[in-house]
Symmetry: C2
Subunit: 442 residues, 2 copies
């Protein structure tokens, strides 16, 4: 205990007496970004990473529930008490729709998995949290993450006191030479790299969709380096159906823990996600279970189970679409594709052919985001100026590095916008960028 | 790092390379109890602590959703897009039904609280987890808990690596002399006791309902010892309406963090709970927020938000009952009271007047549980014997101490049973207890 001050719990509480994640740049990030959004409700937001809500319908919820109710009734041979118990009582920790999730993965992703290896979670964030909580056993355990990366992975790692070592992103997805160097350096320092986190389909924010070959190369590197792979895939199904298979489908030695979300393809308001963790776990008493069973134990101490009512909503949507969320999202896929096109055309019209020196952007083939490089540091202060003076929001890239050092890059989200909003938003953004570029050039 | 072995992540995983909570007696407990229940589906279960499901109705879910939908539509002046967004899109981290929760607390519990101090959670377990995660800042931080205590509090404390120091239960609720001694001893050893966890209304498993005076005495002790109080209240509303006020209602210096559940009074399948955390938090930059805001930051890294669809179900039930869950649970309260009466009468008929020496039981005035003392160690092994040979389940008390040393006490749950099941179950239990008492006497 040494010279550490042991204070009381005196009221008021001091944030320095609370868990250190609360004083971290990640917490500050999320808070700041939320506040800016709230403070400028009439701004066009290229910041929010939300699914398009134009097709939302509350009647769908009722219908999904009814479809699942009939499904259960058939399955339970008309035992309605059992149907009611399944949807309304405390439920199985690993979830009640695991078989439907497994069927969906087979149909849409070519992933064949034992339903017992599925843990249905409160969104994908809980899946990530459970996985990191399980893997972080000692202070030496560290997580590798392709960075810039989703704010939620920084947050979950901090909650379990697990340092996150950034691995450089490349046009191929992961910079494998850098991955190897980071792992070797960490091991030499006595640390234990447990897993590599990545989003192979339309990374947030980088937008890369890895090729089949790069996925295989990355799996081989993970095997050589003896790492688990945490594959997070919220956007894959919304992209070109002829895209490469998931890493989980390519995984031959059970190295990939697959993190799934229904927030973008099901309904965000259900807050249902899942993790496929079919890795065997051995114990001192020799009994081999699955990693999913260990994650379920952690879940029983975190949220006990995922609302079976919420699960029923997703189950109904799966059942109505022959277990295929690709089929269920045909309209949505078209909308996202059209929005991406509008963004790329709109950026070209406003910034193309060197109209504003130092401005460029990437051209992802799907996902919810693209990156705009600008000739000035896109800081939180400039975001506030953009919001207040130009009524347009975007996300400063440094939030995806979990630090506060501004980069010359903004993340632009376009998933939730209508065409007229994109047009208006890009006009405002162009005004802001031109103003700042001119100021930076002076 | 010293001499700690730094192994790889080799497959298969070894449970000893996973978080230590997974190797703990609490995990083993929950697993064992689940397995016994699954292995003997035809046993009468005095083990499951579930609400009565005889009144469950899936049509209620549809009606609750519609009621909340109309409520939102009025509140948003007919802006249906906003209604849909509230229920179906990603939502506010602290929840969308916070005002209804605050209204319910005012109506049913005499607790007046700023809705901004409410965080709606995925069941009460997440509320507990968030609170402990926030309070566990350094390895010196410890939690005090009146013990025997709910398995979930042991579990949540283990997840955040926070030692739980047991404080003895007394007929008055908390043994305050023991509390003082434990706190002093902990501080002398350089530890930092942060809070006292207790269930003042029908403790699980002890059954005590603390008097108003004992609540006040406990609050004074907490103030003198400079502790927060974590008041967990899943059963209070199901007891005698003329019972004492909650500790939160009696709390004059903002010391009580109130943990609420809708699993027993709303619907377990919604998995909605909440925490009221109105303690001010100061920071290095001086900005004073509420503890609720800090808990929301942790929630944003754990589950992001509680399913607004699930929240809508609870909201509808609140709205249909003038915000009163006491009113909504009149039938249920009568059922639990009748079941308790059946248990007490049934135990008296089978074990009263010294029929089996060494058998006695407590007489709680409410709650879901009672404790049966037997003249033998009620171990996990005997539970299996009871399940296999007599088709009756109960919970060995040692699970509430998070250890594996069997006590001479069983917890009997009666909340979810029908009268005939109670009768049959007690017959089976009496057969088992007589057999074991005879064996112990030999």
């Amino acid at each position: 205990m040494g010279n550490r001050t042991v204070a009381g719990s005196s009221l008021p509480l001091d944030v320095r007496d609370l868990h250190e994640s609360l004083g971290s740049p990640v917490s500050a990030s999320m808070n700041f970004l939320n506040e800016v959004s709230q403070d400028y409700p009439d701004a066009v937001s290229f910041a929010a990473g939300r699914p398009f809500e134009g097709y939302f319908d509350l009647d769908d919820v009722h219908r999904h529930l009814d479809v699942y109710r009939r499904h259960l009734s058939e399955r339970f041979d008309g035992d309605e008490a059992k149907v009611r118990r399944t949807v309304l009582q405390y439920g199985r920790t690993k979830g009640v729709i695991h078989e439907l999730v497994a069927a969906h993965l087979a149909v849409d992703e070519g992933i064949v998995v034992d339903p017992e290896a599925v843990v249905v979670t409160v969104g994908c964030q809980e899946a990530l949290y459970l996985t990191l909580r399980a893997l972080r056993a000692t202070p030496e355990d560290v997580l590798l993450a392709v960075t810039p990366s989703y704010v939620g992975v920084h947050g979950a790692a901090q909650l379990v006191d697990m340092p996150l070592l950034p691995v450089r992103e490349s046009a191929a997805g992961v910079d494998l030479a850098h991955l190897t160097a980071v792992v070797r350096e960490a091991r030499a320092a006595g640390r234990r790299p447990r897993a590599l986190y990545l989003v192979p389909d339309f990374a947030n924010p980088g937008g890369v969709r890895m090729s089949r070959e790069d996925r295989l190369r990355t799996l081989r590197a993970a095997a050589e380096l003896d790492l688990l792979v945490l594959e997070d895939n919220p956007y894959g199904l919304l992209g070109d159906p002829d895209g490469p298979p998931t890493m989980k489908a390519l995984d031959t030695d059970g190295r990939v823990v697959y993190l799934g979300s229904f927030a973008k393809t099901g309904l965000p308001g259900a807050r249902v996600g899942y993790v496929v963790a079919d890795q065997p776990v051995t114990g001192p008493r020799g009994g081999a279970g699955l990693l999913a069973d260990e994650l379920a134990k952690i879940k029983s101490m975190t949220t006990v189970n995922t609302s079976p009512i919420a699960q029923a909503v997703i189950a109904g949507k799966l059942l109505e679409n022959g277990h295929s969320l690709r089929a269920a999202n045909a309209r949505e896929r078209e909308t996202y594709r059209a929005n991406l096109r509008l963004m790329l055309d709109g950026l070209a019209a406003r910034f193309g052919a060197g109209q504003v020196p130092g401005v460029s952007w990437n051209t992802p083939s799907g996902g919810f985001f693209l990156l705009l490089t600008v000739p000035f540091a896109a800081s939180d202060e400039l975001l506030e100026l953009s919001a207040g003076g130009h009524r347009v929001l975007w996300t400063p890239l440094h939030h995806f590095y979990a630090d506060s050092e501004p980069r010359h890059v903004m993340r632009l989200s376009f998933s939730h916008l209508l065409p007229a909003e994109i047009d208006e938003g890009l006009d405002r953004l162009a005004g802001f960028v031109r103003e700042q570029a001119a100021a930076a050039a002076r």
